[in-house]
């Protein structure tokens, strides 16, 4: 399929002049490189990174219109596997690499806070990390035990393998011990669930959380760019580009990684709701 890209070389010239006009948006690059840069960058993995990768993609395409960046929202695990197997140029993971995940290198490009959300009608506003762990493990079953309404706690989480779940469970220290009332396969679904169930509590990427739910403070710290960046908000995880060790990377891939880790990307990352690296 890479052939497709080269077939299009005739249109490259025409496209590049347009790119030159809008090069202001990508000042880091000089127009001569952009002219030559073409090809395909296949990315895939974490669904939480969908917004971030989308933003980077859009901005990058303005400078390099002939570079085709694909993104498969298959989940962090699949992203890492894809990078390891070489089927992806860049694997996307919303967690750090595990010890046994060798042969690949992770490059942090951003951070993400994992917000703990409850229904708007829930009087609770703050939880300690311990309370959270007790909720997750099913030790605490009723909101009244935490000073809330007399209602059963509905703990909603993500499916096994999710970067978000992994991040939450490892930080809260409840790996393999969680008793979920419901496992959902996507961030938005968790938010929707919490929104529609007054007794629900769940976790979701900070980038995705909006007004429809209430974000709790954890040990009085609310998740925000600052608190995540400085680590005072504990429940957070990195967004990682995973690349295969020793694999020869195309110019396009290299340029894209450079672009994503550059300061110029910060604004984009922010726009996508994630937290740029400090």
């Amino acid at each position: 399929l890479s052939g497709c890209g080269s077939n299009n070389s005739s249109s490259t010239a025409a496209g590049s002049s347009k790119a030159a006009d809008s090069s202001a948006a990508a000042s880091a690059e000089d127009s001569s490189t952009s002219k030559e840069l073409s090809g395909k960058i296949s990315t895939g993995g974490s669904t939480s990174m969908e917004a971030v990768i989308g933003a980077l993609q859009e901005a990058f395409a303005e400078t390099y219109p002939d570079v085709d960046i694909t993104y498969d929202p298959t989940g962090s695990g699949a992203g890492i596997t894809g990078a390891t197997e070489g089927s992806l140029d860049i694997g996307l993971s919303s967690r750090d690499l595990k010890e046994d995940e060798t042969g690949v290198t992770g490059t942090k490009i951003a951070l993400d806070g994992i917000s703990i959300i409850v229904n708007k009608d829930n009087p609770i506003t703050d939880l300690s990390l311990e309370d959270l762990a007790r909720i997750a493990t099913g030790e605490v079953k009723n909101w009244s035990e935490l000073g809330g309404n007399d209602a059963e706690i509905v703990f909603v989480g993500r499916e096994a393998g999710s970067g978000t779940r992994d991040g939450f469970e490892s930080i809260v220290g409840v790996e393999d011990k969680c008793v979920y009332s419901e496992e959902l396969t996507a961030t938005g679904a968790v938010i929707a669930k919490v929104q529609s169930n007054p007794n629900a509590i769940g976790y979701a990427s900070l980038s995705a959380v909006d007004e429809s739910v209430k974000t709790l403070t954890i040990d009085k710290v609310a998740p925000s760019e600052e608190t995540v960046q400085d680590g005072s908000y504990a429940i957070q995880r990195p967004f990682v580009f995973v690349t295969k060790d020793g694999a020869e990377q195309s110019d396009a891939v290299k340029t894209f990684i450079e672009f994503a880790t550059s300061k110029d990307a910060d604004e984009l990352i922010r726009a996508a709701g994630a937290v740029p690296l400090a």
Partner: protein
């Protein structure tokens, strides 16, 4: 004249029928009405024609519509000759009863396989083994396999409905088989084939699980056709899944849902029109 228990039983039966019909209609009106109620207000020209952008904070579903069309186009282009050919083979050429049975059985089997399995196998075969990665092409090929039984079956049905007497008549005039297929059998079963296409389109439009694993989730508008098929891309159904459950943008999700409903409605109406025409012609 009639015994009491007979009257009672009759009344009871009738009541059950009416209750069931009422339930069904309530469900029908409820679902369709609710989706339209939630979705139609969100549908705007703006939404339909825009490319979504995170940076610009723009919502749009234009790429999804385009992808849906691409997928329909290529899938039909491949599946139609294959399916019609297979159906013609089964009804007109095949003489080996066992072979016919086997093919028919496999067709039925294909029709019954859940889309999630198509998704897995499509991912394994088209994306990984054949190296198409997540792309519309891989998605289309998966859909071809999925819709093959639909096309074969409806075509076969309408081929079978072509009276044997037509064939006999043509044979009696000294026509060869292919000639009969070309001039009599296929033209008189065109309606059935079209119905099959429409049904296939319906299935393509509605499919999400299989495409999620094979066509990925791209929202870029490609410059060329080739590019379009080599990239990942989301159809409307996949986009609905993503926007709702991944991104949590329910307003857009409802809009897509309403749009899908409208499309399905159009497809159904088209199928009905063709069927009505067939029925009229047969009379």
């Amino acid at each position: 004249m009639k015994s009491k228990s007979r009257v009672l039983k009759n009344g009871l039966r009738t009541t059950f029928v009416y209750v069931a019909a009422a339930i069904t209609m309530a469900v029908l009106v409820g679902i369709i009405g609710y989706v339209l109620y939630k979705g139609v207000p969100e549908l705007s020209w703006q939404l339909i024609t825009s490319v979504p952008s995170v940076t610009k904070k723009v919502d749009g579903i234009f790429p999804y519509i385009l992808n849906t069309l691409y997928v329909i186009l290529l899938s039909l282009l491949i599946v139609l000759p294959l399916g019609v050919g297979a159906a013609v083979y089964l009804t007109e050429y095949a003489r080996n009863k066992h072979l016919i049975r086997v093919i028919e059985f496999t067709t039925e089997t294909l029709a019954g396989i859940p889309s999630i399995i198509y998704g897995l196998v499509g991912m394994l075969v088209f994306c990984q083994m054949l190296g198409f990665q997540s792309s519309l092409l891989a998605g289309c090929l998966t859909l071809v396999v999925m819709t093959l039984p639909t096309i074969i079956r409806t075509t076969q049905e309408s081929l079978k409905a072509v009276p044997v007497s037509y064939r006999e008549g043509a044979l009696g005039l000294g026509a060869t088989k292919w000639h009969i297929v070309r001039t009599i059998v296929l033209p008189s079963s065109a309606d059935g084939i079209i119905t099959g296409c429409i049904l296939a389109v319906g299935r393509i439009v509605g499919e999400s699980a299989a495409l999620l694993f094979t066509a990925g989730f791209g929202k870029i508008v490609a410059d060329t056709i080739f590019e379009a098929y080599s990239r990942s891309g989301a159809t409307l159904s996949v986009a609905l899944y993503m926007t709702a459950f991944e991104e949590g943008k329910f307003d857009v999700a409802w809009a897509i849902a309403a749009l899908l409903l409208v499309i399905v409605l159009i497809i159904n109406l088209a199928a009905r029109a063709v069927r009505a025409k067939t029925r009229k012609k047969n009379k």
